[in-house]
Symmetry: C2
Subunit: 359 residues, 2 copies
Amino acid sequence: MQVSFAPGPSQLYYTVEDHLRHAMRKHIGSISHRSKEFETLFAEATSGLRELLSVPPDFHIFFAGSATEIWERSVQNLVELNSFHFVNGAFSRRYYEIALQLSKRAIKTEVPDGKGFENELPLPSGMEMIAVTHNETSTGVSLPLDFIHSLRGKNKEALIVVDAVSSLPYPRLDYTKIDSVFFSVQKGFGLPAGLGVWIVNDRCIAKADQLLTRGISIGSYHSLPTLLANQKKNQTPETPNVLGIYLLSKVVQDMLRRGIEAIRRETEYKAAILYHALESHPRLAPFVQEKQFQSKTVIVANCKEDVGRITQLLQQNKLFPGDGYGEFRKSQLRFANFPTHSKEQFELLVDILAKTGNQ
Amino acid sequence: MQVSFAPGPSQLYYTVEDHLRHAMRKHIGSISHRSKEFETLFAEATSGLRELLSVPPDFHIFFAGSATEIWERSVQNLVELNSFHFVNGAFSRRYYEIALQLSKRAIKTEVPDGKGFENELPLPSGMEMIAVTHNETSTGVSLPLDFIHSLRGKNKEALIVVDAVSSLPYPRLDYTKIDSVFFSVQKGFGLPAGLGVWIVNDRCIAKADQLLTRGISIGSYHSLPTLLANQKKNQTPETPNVLGIYLLSKVVQDMLRRGIEAIRRETEYKAAILYHALESHPRLAPFVQEKQFQSKTVIVANCKEDVGRITQLLQQNKLFPGDGYGEFRKSQLRFANFPTHSKEQFELLVDILAKTGNQ
């Protein structure tokens, strides 16, 4: 069996093909999004996610088309004037740029690709939203949760929104320290792309309501009040990706049976052996050098001129690494470490990488 | 085999299950949306649609999450101040309401559910967009193409946008008389929901560019200029519903092999026998009484107190009608007449309905 280590779309969760077969047998592709059957499916997906990710009762779970859409919707619903963005790679930069495209006064603090942020940064006052990317998929930088959780202390008024696109379900978020978190399903959840999950608390709903009351447009069918009104009926405003929501509900059940703690332990084990292999290799190295910023879920390797040779060797063994992002396409490889990737697959990966060091 | 006649999500096109199996074998769920493989798939889907729907070269084909999203994006990208809406049911009304939610001065002309529009209506001047719903899925009213094509004559400046959600691929649109048309794949194309298709000409692109130049926000990742820049590379701005685009490309190929003219002839045959059955039934009748407004693709039956009995009898024969919409839930049934519904299925449907007339 071939395995994709691309950071997304990535390898499908190993149960997806079975669930798709069942979906066809149950005619999931034809059910109405206003039927009891859909409402049950919606409730299963959201209550499963709530349990898996320990989402507290004052947070709501909504669906969008993609995490890219949630970048836009979060700015549209939570910001009248000012948003603040931590930028350290292509995806956090795009979130910032989307705020500008929506005519907001977006402010960023930026560090070079591959770096994280220091704790003591004072933020400007008057920020309505602070956007922080937990895991920069482009570079493999993960911001420590302590850093994210510390933002609240000095910024009580701002809504803290966490892009956890390529890290969930791994991180243990403290929901008392954030207001919103989102992800897309084709990364850690191993599902076909075409669905984003947006988790927001009542402060976010109140902010959207307040903008609306003051006559500011917050969009239409995917505004927070509209999403909430439909979610209360276990429905969505539009005809959604029903098959995607079905598959999500099933994969979340599979993950719950396995246990989130087991998934976390395995993620840490697999990350440890891959970083060790990179560090002990004569010619390879982790791109992210500071340990505190090394992502557990997207591991980026500097390979320099070995990129082609290593890719070829891995592919001969049916392991497909992800390309480096943007300017790093020819000098780096990226390895997703998601719940679908088994310890055995990582051990094989590490063995093959080790061999390339002896040649 | 059970057959859904709900007007969407509807019965899957009969080849979808096979295509899904192939998709799994070809690892479509894991391919990168920036890969050559995806670009090929995108090109196949769009060039296939172009051929099937006779889309001229000055029109572009884009993907969104749903037709609901395209309601919003069309207003956002094509209207600074004024839009005009023909409203004759729940869905055309929602398009109008979305324009209001986006702070536009939306104007509507409205007729009761089940009715169409007269030709000679003079529209107010200064309209930037005229929104017209070819097929009201809620009521089974289809506006004659002559009516839609006549709008251009007296409204040269306005962009004419056609919601053809539940009629395509059936209607023969004259693209010289419209500027944009859109649909979602879970209706006539028989695909799982989660994908909208938006077709626009260069006038639409120019209008969006003009708004942008004047500093008006037209959204971000799904603005027309951004969609166009990505489409030129056979890509999408965000990670899209890759599996949905793959399935669409395959079903469009299947439809091309069958031939659009054969599909149209069969659609007309199936519509004719169902309307005949309703008209000759002692207690049933078409909801839409004027022949010129009777939809060929969504046929709505007034059933009064027979709704429950007829539904039950049809379901015993594994035929699942669609519920009436909104206030008509308890007095009407809706029957989709899409390319996946065979002549044999319609003949069986008509036979069963006829029997209920003799009882």
